[in-house]
């Protein structure tokens, strides 16, 4: 909130100053032409309330390297939607439904149709080993489903980590030609509220819902120096969730390639990072800082309750039986 009691001082000195200036610039009045005004090189108008005061003083809104942290109340959807529509942006949403995880696709796609990038062009990239089990979901205009057949692996950890390899391969092969931005999420989720263009940036990550209030020492970074995902205990900005990240295709390619290579090096050394690719992701984001960070509104589990700072729960975990669904 700008300090209002200073208005008086500023106003009076401004009046003195502006009087002096208007005297010298009154020439145009005598040459007034009543041509109708044309917005010749601006073709639209946007009416919205003037940006004013800080609406959220309870949370961190920006990192020290100028990456905004996206919370409800910090952005204006109309302005952002207009900016992205002008650029005719297509967004790719990648999701992995390997083995029994295909059961999550129906809810995922249906809720995405309602809440994800509404009004913009979207390609859903579904990586699966069971293409015939991908449900048919009614899609709005400008939105497509692309099914990519991939292999599965016996262990769920392996499946999880191989996502990095598949993403980097397909980014280079295909996505770079089809979309401007990639959003990479987990499939065992559903959209519950607007997830729009406010998330798009060169490189973005999401604050893990379990750690956004935690001290650095509680972050579950990989702390064994033998792993490529090692983060020293006196370093670390945030703990990012492996289930929601993205950016431009180039940046996502760089991220996924780096993570995949690190995973392979670890494998060769017989070590697996504590939280699989999430650990590698966190290391990457520490040394290649994201340009935007999404608040836990963008990846939430209702088991964590409903704290007051969470004004919206946009992307929620779907309850699942871990034992039943993994490794099957």
């Amino acid at each position: 909130m700008f300090i209002c009691d200073l208005n008086q001082d500023l106003n009076s000195s401004h009046q003195r100053y502006s009087k002096a200036k208007t005297l010298s610039s009154g020439l145009w009045k005598s040459f007034l032409n009543l041509k109708s005004f044309l917005f010749s090189y601006f073709s639209f108008r946007m009416i919205y309330t003037k940006p004013q005061i800080l609406k959220r003083s309870d949370v961190l809104m920006m990192t020290p390297w100028f990456a905004p942290i996206v919370w409800e109340g910090t952005y204006n959807s109309e302005i952002l939607n207009e900016q992205f529509r002008q650029r005719n942006v297509t967004v790719g949403l990648t999701v992995f439904a390997i083995k029994k995880y295909v059961v999550f696709l129906k809810t995922f796609l249906e809720t995405a149709e309602t809440y994800f990038m509404v009004g913009h062009r979207v390609n859903y990239y579904i990586f699966t080993d069971r293409p015939e089990e991908v449900p048919k979901v009614a899609l709005k205009e400008g939105r497509n489903v692309v099914v990519l057949q991939v292999q599965n692996y016996p262990r769920w950890q392996e499946i999880s980590m191989r996502r990095m390899e598949m993403l980097s391969y397909f980014s280079q092969q295909r996505f770079i030609n089809e979309v401007s931005y990639l959003v990479c999420v987990d499939v065992d989720m559903k959209f519950n509220d607007q997830v729009g263009v406010e998330i798009l940036s060169d490189l973005f990550g999401t604050l893990h819902p379990g750690f956004y209030t935690a001290e650095r020492r509680s972050f579950t970074y990989e702390h064994r120096p033998a792993s490529q995902a090692y983060v020293p205990s006196d370093e670390g900005d945030f703990y990012y969730a492996g289930g929601f990240f993205g950016g431009t295709v180039t940046e996502v390619y760089k991220l996924t390639k780096k993570c995949h290579e690190a995973i392979m090096v670890d494998k060769a050394n017989g070590i697996e990072a504590i939280w699989q690719e999430e650990s590698h992701l966190n290391k990457y984001f520490l040394y290649h800082k994201p340009t935007k960070i999404l608040s836990p509104e963008y990846l939430w589990d209702d088991n964590l309750g409903r704290p007051e700072i969470l004004k919206k729960r946009r992307f929620l975990a779907v309850p699942k039986n871990h034992a039943a669904i993994r490794n099957k």
Binding site: M1, F2, I3, C4, L6, N7, D9, L10, S13, H14, S18, T22, S24, S25, L27, W28, F31, L32, N33, L34, K35, F37, Y41, R45, K50, P51, Q52, I53, L54, D58, V59, L60, M61, M62, P64, W65, F66, P68, V70, Y75, N76, I79, L80, Q83, E198, Y212, T213, E215, R216, P232, E235, D237, F238, L286, Y287, K289, K292, P307, I309, L310
Partner: protein, 333 residues
Amino acid sequence: LPFPVVLSVLLVKPMFSPRIFSLISCRRTDVLLVSPWLAPIVWEGTFNRDILNAQYRQKNFVVGVATFAVKKYVRFIEGFLGSANKFFLSGHRVNFYLFTDHPEKVPSINLAPEKRLFIIPVQNYSRWQDISMNRMDIISNHIHSHWRYEVDYLYSMDIDVQMFEHIGVEIIDTLVGTISSWQYTKPRDSNSYERHPESRAAIPHGEGDFYYAASFYGGSVSEVYKLTTACFKGVTEDRANGIEAKWHEESHLNKYLLYHKPTRLLSPEYYWDEELIRPRIIRVKRLSSVRKDLQELERLTLLLGGLRELLVPCSSLDSLVSFFFCREAKCVL
């Protein structure tokens, strides 16, 4: 490679009573940090220059600064360049492009090794408004002809300013505007936008985000090229219709930045008009206009001429005069 900077207090919970779910408080809760289109607004206390420097250095960018010292404004050159040499992007490569109609009057200044000065002769105009508005045209032509090969980012700054505090890589972004120090508290409708629909710079009532100062703006060369070309086109069309916008090219700049929103905004710390009392929310005055009252300047020149012999050695009278007007300078009189 391990990252050289260990992030410290900024990201740790505050010492005072923490609410269970409160995230780390930012150090500034008194001002707007992020615009509604999620462009950061640069205030003291909101950024860590070490992290930014580390990110920037990897890319080996060159930044250009275009400034105009025409007619009597040549007296500001020394103060500008001297302070910019010390405080502007120190340690990074900068090309200063100084346009002047009196190239012989440019004092010699010892610049830091990574800073270069290019003196470009330019014609003057009888009206100061014309000098001011034609800057856009000159900048856009120079970008097109050779600056796009020489620099990655370009900033346009008024010459009658001095820097008192470091201005670093926090200003580097695709399209950057500075929030005017006169206008940042104003409600939208009393903003100094051009309102008369006949002008190309007109902004209808009910529209507008911030009022940007034309004294300091910039961005990537391609974005600044687009901005200056569009603004000068507006100026030319207005001239053809016999109109001049209320605040000259600043009105056109504001219209452009309303419809092509900046990707980063600089708080009034980055251009503070010296006539204003500085409120508490402006914690640092990085760049400030220097008193332009030329009569007073001349009177003082005569006065100081007499006292010259008594003073501690000063290189030139002009520098003494500009030194005297620089509030933070300690001068023995």
